[in-house]
């Protein structure tokens, strides 16, 4: 499946708290396994990436779950 999220971003870190990369996010969404093990806290800790995470999850068609307890 193609998405408008630029593939050149894949090696870059999206969440600096859990060290989640854009590529890992893309792979987890494609496999329907978001969030991957160990990355459940993405977007919940320092919250600095939360806006970008929500944006990317919408692009990739995943339910965010970030704002739910």
């Amino acid at each position: 499946m193609t998405t408008p999220l630029d593939a050149t971003l894949d090696p870059e870190i999206l969440c600096y708290c859990t060290l989640l990369t854009f590529g890992e996010l893309r792979a987890a969404c494609a496999a329907g396994t978001w969030p991957p093990p160990g990355k459940e806290q993405t977007g919940r800790l320092c919250t600095g990436c939360q806006g970008d995470l929500q944006y990317c999850l919408r692009l990739l068609g995943a339910r965010s779950g970030v704002l739910t307890p």
Partner: protein
């Protein structure tokens, strides 16, 4: 990841590793510095949002080390300002027991009368998402709210009136959907910076 604001005419140094620790400095794996104009575009003149993406040996610094800044207007006789650089993205905060939300921040002003002009400088480090925020200032119980929206990498200053209806400015708060880079800024009548300090997370 840390962020600060730089203005033309100032000498501005940032220590990327805490307390001039020579051995720790060798643990720095990489550092990338980026600067953005007020509209989020690439570096031009005026106030810049400066972002430090510094990565360390995780065995030595499993968290984000404190970064400190030194700020001095060139040719000024005033002493320099020394401040803690705003932590804006990451650093495994759950491992140091800092899992509370940090997108609601506050700053209390000193009891003595405030001279000069004050403002809150706010920047959005997101790559894609616009950031909405409210700046709330308190004047002995009188509350004033300003709202703003920042495009990715955009930044601005929200001026704070020092007095309203005879009541002095006591406190300012920043509430946002996610964490933004923010500083309280104070200027003398000449425009020279006299205060440059990060805000404090409200909940601990």
């Amino acid at each position: 990841m840390s962020a600060t604001f730089h203005e033309v005419g100032y000498a501005h140094l940032v220590e990327l590793v805490h307390q001039r620790d020579r051995a720790a400095r060798r643990r720095l794996h990489s550092v990338r510095l980026s600067a953005y104009a007020g509209d989020g575009g690439t570096c031009r003149h005026g106030r810049l949002l400066v972002v430090f993406d510094a990565r360390y040996d995780a065995r030595v610094f499993p968290y984000r080390p404190h970064h400190y800044g030194y700020l001095h207007r060139r040719d000024s006789a005033s002493p320099p300002l020394y401040y803690a650089v705003n932590a804006t993205l990451g650093g495994v905060p759950d491992r140091i027991g800092a899992g509370a939300i940090n997108n609601f921040e506050t700053y209390l002003f000193l009891d003595r009368a405030i001279s000069g002009h004050h403002a809150v400088a706010v920047g959005n480090l997101s790559r894609f998402a616009s950031g909405q925020a409210e700046v709330m200032s308190y004047y002995d119980g009188i509350r004033h709210v300003e709202t703003l929206e920042l495009a990715p990498k955009a930044h601005t200053e929200i001026a704070l009136t020092s007095e309203r209806n005879g009541h002095r400015l006591r406190r300012v708060e920043l509430k946002a959907l996610f964490r933004l880079a923010s500083y309280v800024v104070g200027r003398r009548a000449s425009g020279e910076l006299a205060l440059f300090d990060h805000m404090f997370t409200y909940f601990k």
